[in-house]
Symmetry: C2
Subunit: 243 residues, 2 copies
Amino acid sequence: MQPVIILVRPQMGENIGMVARAMLNCGLTELRLVAPRDGWPSESAMATSSGATEVIENAKLYNTLDGAIADCRYVLATGSFDRDMVKDVLSPEAAIDVIQKEAGPCAIVFGPERSGMDNEDVVRCDAYITIPLNPDYPSLNLAQAVLLVAYQWWRRVSVENNLPVAGGERLDAQCIVPATKEQLSGLFDHMTEALDQSGFFPTEQQRPVMLRNLRNTFHRLRLSAQEVNTFRGALKSLFKERI
Amino acid sequence: MQPVIILVRPQMGENIGMVARAMLNCGLTELRLVAPRDGWPSESAMATSSGATEVIENAKLYNTLDGAIADCRYVLATGSFDRDMVKDVLSPEAAIDVIQKEAGPCAIVFGPERSGMDNEDVVRCDAYITIPLNPDYPSLNLAQAVLLVAYQWWRRVSVENNLPVAGGERLDAQCIVPATKEQLSGLFDHMTEALDQSGFFPTEQQRPVMLRNLRNTFHRLRLSAQEVNTFRGALKSLFKERI
């Protein structure tokens, strides 16, 4: 069961639209709004939600946070966590763990853009989510905070769709010093010149695609700086013989 | 060593500013720009980068992607991955694994807002990053794509700063049916009325803070629906005796 996203007193309709997009990116569709400053429905929210209008159109409106969380079994506050109240503080990842174990509806609450959640709202929640960021620059805009939390949920529930992790198949970075891109481009330019002069390309039309494929192969090889030097020496030698 | 973020032909200065913010949120400071459409420096980038101006001011400008990646040992493309070229495809998490193992500078390249990276740019990279999102609505704006990738990096390198994962300490959701917030609020209203009438609050001034603390305690208890009923019965009984 997907968590509900609740925005308490959001200020800008534009931000509500951006939140809708971030939610739908991560498969979340249930948005609840508590007393949005500029009223509801909002044209600016519709405008910025491009493609995620279903989330905006189905958003539910409440006067109070109590109303918005009435049917919820577990509610998470977001924001900074250096407050007086004793609450569990969870990273987004840990919060998703809890939500996934929960039997009933869960909600994640985000406060107004400028001030964040106030104490009277936080006290109604079971725990905090804090997004661990650069302590010297932790401020996120509303849609980005929603995105980071929603993405954790999406990653967790879409395990079956995960991409293959190909990182383990490459050469061990400890053993070779990979060539820089400049060294690779040098080799490639050298080879192109040699191939051009030796009449390698059947037609001028085929040349760009053949070159692109060749370049792609070279970039896939993960050549070391040493190997690039060897290749260039070989090329020089072969090219000399041809002329 | 932190990865470099490269934007190829970014269109809107506003987006460059938002990228700078997302980078600094995650401790990344090295931004490179390849031929930004509206020139450089950009007033609109400065305006939207509020607080992350150091990233904008230190951004380096290049005419070509080749120039921007010349000193890099490992370069990752971003975007969709259903292309002709044979490349490793990594999730952001797997990409960060590779970057962390790499000895020299690494870069992550993002294409123009509207079209994404073109093939001539992708071919210069070692592998793709694809951000796994809702297949029915996968489009992210530029700053959000940068944020999701940068956040994976930040989470990995800031393990020592991690928040305690408190999720395991709570009651097992299998064993109890937690009360809804409505049930909890009902109990709390009942108790407030009883305390008011029994003269529990020393002064009117202290009442709001004492009530808030009491409410916080109740929300921390993770009471079951059954326990709420028991509490209300006890309250009714105690209150009756007092009158």
